[in-house]
């Protein structure tokens, strides 16, 4: 039994997701949240196993929200659900601590599969290609590269901090900045993605 919280600002998407997840045995969709504002009460009340999180939300985007959710103890698995699940999102998603990344255009069984796997503690992220790393390397400073490398190798925050000799809070702050620099901009006035 996997309990799932949906965060999406579009009503059709929320309704569709809830219906699809309810139809699948073993899944229990909980209340859906439309934005960060109603996410926290719902999250605290329902304690879901998996959060299916829209990438592009009004206000702070899914990556920022993902970071905040993953700071909860215990943190649910987070599956980023995006209309822009292009390879370019992989590194920012990884930095944000997302457990999975699924395209909104993927069929339901792919979504089911991804939810089951992240619920088991697995990662469902596309592999990080050489080109993506090079591109990220061009956009980050030389101080940030070791953080990226260690994050990709699943080094815990505390260890990264002690390796580099800085406070864990400072590392967290730097990761926030790196995400901002690497994330892809959604080219819309207020597009839901």
């Amino acid at each position: 039994m996997i309990r799932i919280l949906i965060v999406d600002d579009h009503p059709a998407m929320r309704a569709g997701l809830t219906a699809v997840l309810r139809a699948e045995p073993g899944f229990v969709p909980l209340d859906a949240a439309t934005s960060e504002k109603d996410l926290w009460p719902t999250l605290n009340r329902t304690k879901p196993d998996v959060v299916v999180l829209d990438y592009h939300l009004p206000g702070d985007d899914g990556l920022v929200l993902c970071r905040r959710i993953k700071r909860q103890v215990p943190a649910p698995a987070v599956l980023l659900y995006s209309a822009y699940a292009e390879a370019a999102l992989t590194i920012p998603a990884r930095l944000a601590g997302a457990d999975g990344l699924v395209s909104k255009s993927a069929p339901a069984n792919e979504l089911y599969d991804a939810i089951r796997r992240v619920a088991r503690g697995e990662r469902v992220l596309p592999p990080i290609s050489r080109e993506l790393l090079d591109d990220a390397g061009n956009r980050l400073s030389s101080e940030e590269l070791p953080i990226l490398g260690m994050t990709i190798e699943d080094t815990p925050l505390r260890e990264i901090a002690s390796t580099l000799g800085v406070e864990p809070a400072e590392i967290a702050h730097r990761i926030d900045r790196m995400i901002k620099r690497l994330k892809i901009d959604v080219p819309a006035p207020r597009a839901a993605g």
């Binding site: 998407m13 997701l17 699809v20 209309a83 255009s105 080109e131 080219p187 819309a188």
Partner: protein, 372 residues
């Protein structure tokens, strides 16, 4: 031109009338013929060849002929004076304010020359009334130029302002439609696709086929919407085609095996044409990078007079003999080229290896510019 036509006809009529009722010179009959010939001839030529209405050489010839008429009438207070002034209309409205003023000043001096040539003498300069008359005659060309150039300037600015606000209105409407397509319609398509895809594996046989078909349609609808959204946002917002192509090349670089270069410039193009040109170029570039298996992809932009060209050249495996299924990129490139009246040619690149896509477009100067 309408202003010139009306005033010149009127001035010619006045001149002929004056020559008829008042004996000015011993050869009034010839003067009438010359005045009518000048009026009819100049108007006919300027109407037949509209290009001349904006040509300084034509203005100069027109002004010289008008001054010649005044000289021929042997008096600077000529019946052709007003007719002469009409030669100032085109130069006043067809160039910048400053240049128009300079032109008026030069014209007044030329008129002074004609006056000296005819019978402006010491006698005239001593008589206050005569002196005042010549001063007025010299001032009038300047006043005419000043008034006309000012009016033309104001009209031009009004027109620019109107164009700008129209463009803004269109632009904001496009943005709104793009946003709605993306924010609402596309989300619904995603939701429908997801819900329907949950049926896959639960139905079989003919029903499974139906579901598969519907899913394919929904995916195509989503892709169509992406294209539409991209197109609605195409106006390059003042950025040049080459800069946008450079940006596209930079986007493709991380996923490309090929070395991409963009060079040359295509010059100024009207916004909607530039948008299509960019999309065609970007599509050709994307195709070369994705399907060409090339080592080098070169985008060369050029402008030669009124002809603008873009060539996208690669050294890959060349055009496929059979179209890739589901590729409508080429079709949409052709459709775009047709829309803007450009020609698109595809073929093997120089040396027979790879593909060359050439878009060429004629950019005739806009004939709708302001003429009086």
């Amino acid at each position: 031109m309408t202003l010139l036509l009306m005033t010149r006809l009127l001035a010619a009529a006045v001149a002929v009338l004056l020559l008829l009722v008042h004996r000015v010179t011993p050869h009034d009959a010839e003067l009438i013929v010359a005045g009518v010939a000048y009026t009819a001839g100049s108007l006919a030529v300027l109407t037949a060849v509209p290009r001349l209405q904006l040509a300084p050489a034509a203005w100069l010839a027109d002004g010289a002929l008008a001054l010649a008429l005044v000289a021929a009438s042997e008096d600077w207070r000529s019946p052709f004076y007003v007719l002469m002034l009409t030669a100032l209309i085109l130069p006043s409205t067809g160039q910048s304010f400053r240049r128009a003023l300079a032109w008026g000043l030069a014209f007044a001096l030329a008129y002074l020359g004609v006056a000296v040539y005819t019978e402006l003498d010491a006698d005239t300069l001593e008589s206050t009334i005569r002196l005042e008359t010549i001063a007025t005659h010299l001032m009038v060309p300047l006043v005419v130029v000043l008034a006309l150039a000012y009016a033309a300037d104001v009209l031009e600015r009004l027109r620019d302002e109107r164009l700008r606000s129209e463009r803004l209105a269109v632009e904001s409407e496009r943005q709104r439609i793009a946003w709605e397509l993306h924010d609402s319609a596309k989300q619904r398509v995603h939701a429908a696709h997801l819900v329907l895809s949950a049926l896959q594996g639960q139905v079989d046989g003919a029903q499974a086929q139906l579901v598969g078909h519907a899913l394919a349609e929904l995916r195509a609808a989503g892709a169509d919407m992406d294209t539409s959204v991209a197109e609605l946002r195409t106006p390059l917002e003042g950025r040049s085609v080459e800069r946008m192509l450079e940006q596209r090349a930079a986007e493709l670089a991380p996923v490309s095996e090929a070395q991409i270069t963009v060079r040359g410039t295509i010059g100024e193009l009207p916004a909607h044409i530039a948008a299509h040109v960019y999309r065609i170029g970007a599509e050709a570039l994307t195709n070369a990078v994705r399907h060409g298996e090339a080592e080098h992809v070169d985008v060369v932009l050029a402008r030669n007079g009124s002809t603008a060209t873009i060539e996208v050249r690669d050294d890959g495996r060349g055009l496929p003999a059979i179209r890739r299924p589901g590729s409508n990129g080429l079709r949409s490139m052709r459709a775009r080229a047709d829309t803007i009246g450009a020609t698109l040619s595809l073929g093997p690149a120089d040396g027979g290896r790879g593909t060359s896509v050439v878009l060429s477009l004629s950019t005739d100067p806009d004939p709708g510019s302001f003429t009086p």
